[in-house]
Amino acid sequence: MGSWGITLYMRLSCSLLALSLCLVWGSCSPDPYPGEKGKILHAGLLALPKSLDPAGVEDMYSGIIASQVYEGLFQYHPYARPFRLIPALAREEPEVSKDGLTITFELRRGVHFHDDPCFPDGKGRELVADDFVYCFKRFAHPAVQSKGWWTLDKKILGLNAWRKARAKELEDLQKEGKASGSLHGMEVPVEGLQALGRYRLQLRLTQAYPQLFWVLAMPYLSVYPHEAVEKYGAEFQNHPVGTGPFRVKRYNPVYRVVLEKNSGYRTVRVPDPRRRPEDRLPGWDWEKDEQAGLLVNAGKKLPLVDGMELRFILEDQPRWLYFKSGYLDFLIPPKDNMDEAIPAGKLNPRFAKRGVTMETVVETGTVYTCFNTEDPVLRNVNLRRAISLALDNAWMIQNLYAGQALLAKCLIPPMIAGFIDYHPYMKDDGTAWIEKAKEYMKKAGFPGGMRKDGKRLRLRYESAGASATQMQFASRFAQDLRRIGIEVDNIVNTFPQMIGKMRKKDFQIAGLAWGFDYPDAQNILQLLYGPNASPGPGAANFHNARFDRLYEKALTMWDSPERTRIYQEMAKIVAEEVPWVPRVHRLRRVLRQPWLKGMKYTQVTYHFWRYLDVDLALRKKKVAAWNKAFGGGDR
């Protein structure tokens, strides 16, 4: 009995020791993909995808996944710049009537949906034109509440009326206390949306819609079988069934998605312009891409890899460290790691020695500071001009973007038609122009930042998201404005709060960014069109009669030098009236591991993902060398 205590103590210590040993044994390798088989592409996404229901795909990250699983009538060419569309489920170029209002698509034959339990025998059914009619109607259905409705709003003959009728029914159903949210009235036809036989689809438009084909390549308008919607109901968003080269194998909306290849995918080949003349698109400098090694898989059948594992890595550091250890096949380095990755604008030799390569893309989008032009203080155009002059964009690019951005003098980025190199209230080198800003403060009636009542002018600057980066932007904005005597209160919002405030016009200045849905300047100019003011998408609440007239005129025009001139004129109005201060167009520096093949990066579309390939043997060798315990190996 005397040794009882000691025994107990020994037992405790032993079990602890055993436990720690277990842990050490369990974790002696840092490999985050234990037991993986086959050729799997590894990538990290920056945020959680919201929904894999095409009608609900609204954010980039859902878009990336949906674009591998679903297909629409058209898709973006993976390599051609400027961007080009190629037929996907459409067999060829559509027939367009003389007035441009009737468009008939011929569908590919023999395309099958993924095998799925939603079909009677579990085998994927053949795709027919009626599927598109169903999907477009469902997209417009008020019970689905798609955020992409603007893409077809008032464009297709009878669709708005159809939507309105369904909304009325929905209200009646709710009054009767019946289950709402169900898809009723899907059998009612829409005039402008018809299947002509099994493989022909006809769209009839209310007005010329030059952006239609871009829109048809967006995930919103891709195709899925009604069987899946009926079987899964609200869960359809987690059970995608499409026609694409990949299908969802495992999906945890807060952690990762694992895609596997669709072995029944129809024959689609990587463009092979050298051997197949029909792949040589006019305007595509394919020889350059071939020299860059992008076409190593030319002529091979998709899909090229056995699957993809996309992890949702929200934090910058782990994402970067994953890449450095070789656990991600490509990455846009987080801004805080830029000076390690790309010191002085060139790829770090340490990475270059490892075989990592870098690609630079100017983002099709604009970061801007938005004024609420209906605010009693900011209605003052000279105050807005003074603020524009006081902002030190050069400093911001250097320190907050680590040099990875272009100064934006125009709200339209340089590669999009409509861009002009003109801003009267911004210095050419992007630095602050304090003397002139102070002059405009006087003109605005705030000499030295003082209000008429002798108090200092105070403004609120709103930003969404609580990251340290946001904090840095906001605090620099305040620093800049303090130099012309304005005191700034920084307000951090959650995204819903920010949206709520904009809708109610309850803000003064906000830090925002816009990424283009398609490469046409109309997509960003719409935000300043008067009738789009809050609660519409135009948060600046900008009202300028001339701007609005020009916008309406350009809206029905096809791409032409004349339309570009109109866009330029609109951009000039924006520069002079300053409802926004365009700040920068971000540069995307994409780092590619040596084993990644065939990538030309862009953010406008995610179709290029399916053209990626991995050299498995090389990856295994490199990753093992880079990850020796206790920091050995090639660091």
Partner: protein, 320 residues
Amino acid sequence: MEQSLWGRGPVIGFVIKRLLYNIPVLLGVALITMLLFNVASGDPVSIKLGKAAKESQRKALAKQMGLDKPLVAQYGDFLVQTVTLDFGESWNDNTPVRKIFLRGVGPTLSLSIPAFFTGAILSIALALLVAYHRGGWLDRFMTMAAIAGISISSLVYILVLQWLLADQLKLFPIWGYEYGWGALRFIALPLLIWVLLSVGQDLRYFRTVALEEIGRDYVRTARSKGLSENRILFKHVLRNCSIPIITRLVITVPFLITGSFLLEIFFGIPGLGSTLYTAIQNSDFPVIKAFTMLGTVMFVLFNILSDVLYAYFDPRIRLS
């Protein structure tokens, strides 16, 4: 235990009484939660529809979500949801809240339960060791170390250890998770940090408890009878210490469910803590409501359990 009132005592009556007493508390919690988030949650309709929505669309949705009702009616709905444990669907991605909970509970528990037991065993063992050597250099050193340990910010702990052990020494994965046994490698480092964070606090408490017990008369009597120090410490003292120790441990159980959200965020564990964090950022009210009510109910239940256990182990306490 021989003299315990257990068995004779009105245990069931006690539990029922406590449960009844806690009903108003739950009502109050529900009210506070409601009011807090009805004011704070921004505009729920915008979350679902985006900013391009039309006014008619917004009204229809508000109606569908029951947001057009007066607050009292919404409170009623909320209570019904709590009782039926059906909190509807997330506003963010329309997933049923129940599913969100089931998805996250596994990863969370796979970290929190091992961490809880490792931490508890380690701190009890250390506390006894320290109590055995009370007043000696080991005692002084450990007390100092414990104070120093709890004085470091948990954020600094996480940052530095993740950097050192995962990034520099490559001993652990930096980030990620795997279901099943594969979880072990991923939770190892967060578990280590959790234990380090909790041991300092627990060690201090358990040491105080042990010292208090050692100061009692029966220990002196036993000593004067010539019983060995070991036997006194590990048989009598440990047994009597078990009451405050167990109560303290039982009370922390509800917090194992919510997990450590900082660790989950930093190490990419798709558990309830990180889910809740995302929900708060997105004003995802159904999820927040469900988690708050669940946390409260667990807290209340385990409090009652701890009282019952207290009475079970301590003959001096009567359930009343």
